[in-house]
Symmetry: C2
Subunit: 704 residues, 2 copies
Amino acid sequence: MAQQKQFTLEDLNFGGRHYYEMTPERRHYQWWGKQLLRLEVDKVSVIDRKNTETVLFTLDDLEAAMPKDEGIVGINLLNSTFPYGEMSCALIKTPKDRVLFDFKSRKIAWRQKHSGSLEWNKESRSDAFSKDDNLWIRLSDGTECQLTEDGSREIVYGRSVHRNEFGIEKGTFWSPDGTKLAFYRMDQTMVADYPQVNTFGRIATHEPDKYPMAGMTSHEVTVGIYDSKTKKTVFLNVGDPKDRYFTNIQWAPDGKSIYLFELNRDQNKATLDCYDAVTGEKKNTLYTETDEKYVEPLHPISFLPWDSDKFLMFSQREGYMRLYLYDTKGKMIRKVTDDTAKGIANKEYIVRDILGFNKKEKSVIVRANVSQYTSMNIVSFSVDGNEANILDGGYGVCDGQLCEDGSYIINQFSNPNVPRAYQLLGTGMKKAERRDLFVAKEPWEGYAIPHISVGNITAADGKTNLKYREVLPPDFDESKQYPTVLYVYGGPHAHLIEDSRNLAARSWEIYMAQKGYIVYVLDSRGSENRGKEFEQVTFRQLGQEEMKDQMKFVEYFSALPYVDKNRIGVHGWSYGGFMTISLMLNNPDIFKVGVAGGPVTDWKYYEVMYGERYMDTPEQNPEGYAKTSVIDKAKNLKGRLQIIIGANDPVVVPQHAMLFINACNEVGTQPDFYIYPGEEHNMQGHMSVHLHERITRYFDDFLK
Amino acid sequence: MAQQKQFTLEDLNFGGRHYYEMTPERRHYQWWGKQLLRLEVDKVSVIDRKNTETVLFTLDDLEAAMPKDEGIVGINLLNSTFPYGEMSCALIKTPKDRVLFDFKSRKIAWRQKHSGSLEWNKESRSDAFSKDDNLWIRLSDGTECQLTEDGSREIVYGRSVHRNEFGIEKGTFWSPDGTKLAFYRMDQTMVADYPQVNTFGRIATHEPDKYPMAGMTSHEVTVGIYDSKTKKTVFLNVGDPKDRYFTNIQWAPDGKSIYLFELNRDQNKATLDCYDAVTGEKKNTLYTETDEKYVEPLHPISFLPWDSDKFLMFSQREGYMRLYLYDTKGKMIRKVTDDTAKGIANKEYIVRDILGFNKKEKSVIVRANVSQYTSMNIVSFSVDGNEANILDGGYGVCDGQLCEDGSYIINQFSNPNVPRAYQLLGTGMKKAERRDLFVAKEPWEGYAIPHISVGNITAADGKTNLKYREVLPPDFDESKQYPTVLYVYGGPHAHLIEDSRNLAARSWEIYMAQKGYIVYVLDSRGSENRGKEFEQVTFRQLGQEEMKDQMKFVEYFSALPYVDKNRIGVHGWSYGGFMTISLMLNNPDIFKVGVAGGPVTDWKYYEVMYGERYMDTPEQNPEGYAKTSVIDKAKNLKGRLQIIIGANDPVVVPQHAMLFINACNEVGTQPDFYIYPGEEHNMQGHMSVHLHERITRYFDDFLK
């Protein structure tokens, strides 16, 4: 029998040289109306009901249609889309242009530049784009119109605002017909700069970055609407925008109104408001939600495709994120995603997102963890009746892409038995139509693979079930005692354990196990997908309840005969870096070694939106800030602790690490420290391999 | 027999809590005309020829004379001076004022504010001071006059210029009678900022620092002269000051002329020029010195007290820094410090500085290493004749303070047998008058003291003698093999081995030896006190010849039976940090562990004055810069290397460390790194204890 192969970080880490060969094979599918297509680098094929693939067109066909002096340099058909079900056209990006290629007539049907593109609309074929910090649009015929003139580093147009919190990912919003553009304007003139330094020039340069810290003056956001017909812009009449958040912009189907959520700075009151898109005046407030801790609107409303007076709205007001059907007068009609429907095993499920609608059956297709809380299923809910249909196999983590009328969905999923697979699912409420498109082979055949399993413990509250992951060395011998590392995150909006490939074990866990460590991971209270109460237990005291759960877990695994309780380490990044330092300083005799990456060390140096949601301001919650700060606990450091940051981290700014290290220097404790010049909050590309070699070496130096 | 006591860094390090108790006792002497005084915190005494001390006045006497509401809070008599030999007055600084206390009449004779004081003149009792970046003077009667108006961060008045190179330590120069003030004006508007960051505020702030890097645009310096009688300022008419250095300003004894050295940017041509102090026009150029490598004027000229037409000038044009007698027409009269005088054992001596003149005997009293190059003697040279008299015992490192007429000097010295002693020396040319004032006891009695010795090796050039220091553990056993650390500096204007207490062994060497390491130190070619050729061998290739010598030394000690050649480490700071990295990367199989503090990693990021003197510009010397840079050699890193910097180092800016670390991150080598937030080029106070604990721990972790 051949010796089993050993992994390197070049194999396992996403930045590694062999990473792509070592991950399960991917396929690329797209819908063209109701037709299922398979995209490859050099061709696009139609897949029929028997999984037979017929070539629709090739890169050669495209080349024949392109101007000779241009050819197909830089074109990859994997990126094609098929925006018009009724037209035989592929939308393809060349290095400079957006091109509509008619694969029937084999001709270029239309083209347009895409430089600076922010968002393109398929109806009008207009493109919103950015030039010299100002916002422009490019019409279908190529005409360019300038929308703003005072754009700068301080006055920002058409970009994501509020530091990407509240579900905000972009700053432009086309009306359904693509004739009007809603856009964010963010005034940051009143916000303090964080002085980032670029050390790569002939001489280092100052690159200031507006960074509103918890309790400090924040930016002011407004929303403009440009009408490409009248060439005029109106701003929503919101009054003084100071200390207010405007999020989750949605157009009415007729393009005459705009809906958005407004949140107060305290983040404990949200309203859903409708504004007139022509006058900018507020028409009505449809909905108000308050919470003694916080409200966090994360999703725009979704209008029903068959009834433009009704929409679905997300809310976790009853404890779990669910969908509610409202009309445009603000009247609630019903709760669509109830937990009484047949087949829902996990009554505490949350709806993750809406994938679309089955228009014929009047159902909404969502992702929700209805089978068990560690899975993510694809589920049809009837909008009007109390019915649900779990479309996937019920075990695993799914994501999907609906065809035009919503009758079918491509499900890409994995579970511990299936490294990666693609299925075609029918979305009908009654039938269970499911067809495998592709099942990837396990790419780690022949390698020494660690033993990965999940288990359950009870949280520190004495009642809540928590899932943990255990990763044991491939040659695990239960009569031995192993050095053991707790990998930790712990923050909101994240979970580490799920029913995906390898139970979501991170590549570093595999690597460490192979090197002879045991790795443990726990999703403590405060993490996602478990509902409001579970999440909000951390309010005004980030890290405290999480630590209790993690320590309960450490107690548990320390008592296992194969865990060496004198060699316990801990590692985490970002919130997990904060947790790592917190755990080490609050339990100095437990953890021998820790590595804390990009750590928050005092929440008052974190930004307003995230920081104040969970902690309120330093002025409102001085005890909470003091209790959770690790800076004044620097004297408790006993084990070996390495702190690692990106020198240009704009998220958890270097001030966090600097102040903690200075505190250690002053009280005479000795952390270690490393820095990645030019890197931000997470190491990019191959730097991540270097980082994980570094983290591993630290445990090898001091824990092994 | 009692167990010998062990040192801690709190005992040994200058920032340690017990440092002062653990250093040889100090005494404080001052001259009052020809009278020798001993200063203590609460009293001042006269010492007669028999060493009998008689109290002159006490702090109580001063208190009785001070206004009742003011008292003696914050006054320490150790800081008193006695500027007027003919007056019974002590000059004492209170927290706010300069006070002349007449200790005979027991009255306050005069007082004046000293806020912002830059330089006070005892003749006019005028004070040059700085306020809001501008230069002012405060007359004896308290009147304040503003000299400049456009002072700012960019236009700097009355401060040291040219980054303290060329012997420049201050920016104001009173005429002998204190009626005219010469001052530097430095225009930095054209100089790039280095972006320093202060991480201690509510949010970090940018604190830019003008930093002209080698080859980049430098600042422009001019010299103004303010006449307190006419209230007018004239600037020396030097023409365009771009790329020129003006240094070593000296007034003519009559206050009518100003002498200074001018150096070109290439630093290979210096002239001594005389300017009219009233018109600012150049009167004549007295002297020109060129060198194919560099000229470095470090001392102002010194006029003979008995002949205001003649002065002494320093030059190492003949190979060793010596004094030459010139007249004010620029005619050289003679070389004063020849090496043919009787008693001069080391013919290759250098004159370190002028302590003063014996006016009666017409001799100049200097410090020079005439007995052997590792000592620093006090020597009288007759100005007119070829005579010399070594005033000290001839073995040790001396410093002295002359009485008013120069007939006696207080010599503070130490040598390996004398921890610290104070002597009164007659400066007469013929007699050897020498009287002990105080000999301090050895403060380390009862401690386990390492074995410290010096030895000689031949440099890599095959001919030059070099001295090294060996520090062996207190319980050294030559049959054992020890981990061994090379401590290195190597740069110009420094030496590490001399005939002072413990042969100048640094406290960390003592500490390391006590912990069971052997420490070696070598003064390689390029270091000071050995003459021009010895120093200039490093020209255009800093670190290269030094490395050859250091490696010759490593070869030598590695072959010693008690040195473990598999456990050799290296440590150095600043230039020594540069050397540490250079040694490790150029000899990856020799050094297992290194700690490099505040290291230069590429000379093009160092400043213009020092950088270009030794390296020329990056444009003139691309091969030299490439050869000496460690950044592109990052892939050679094999041993464990920790780099440590002050986060706000304004001398070797953080860019050096950042670029080297980034290079390692890119090629996949793994240095370690630590940072001291808020600290500059050297750790201050107790931070130095933390630093040396850190350095020691690194060797304990990986070399022991």
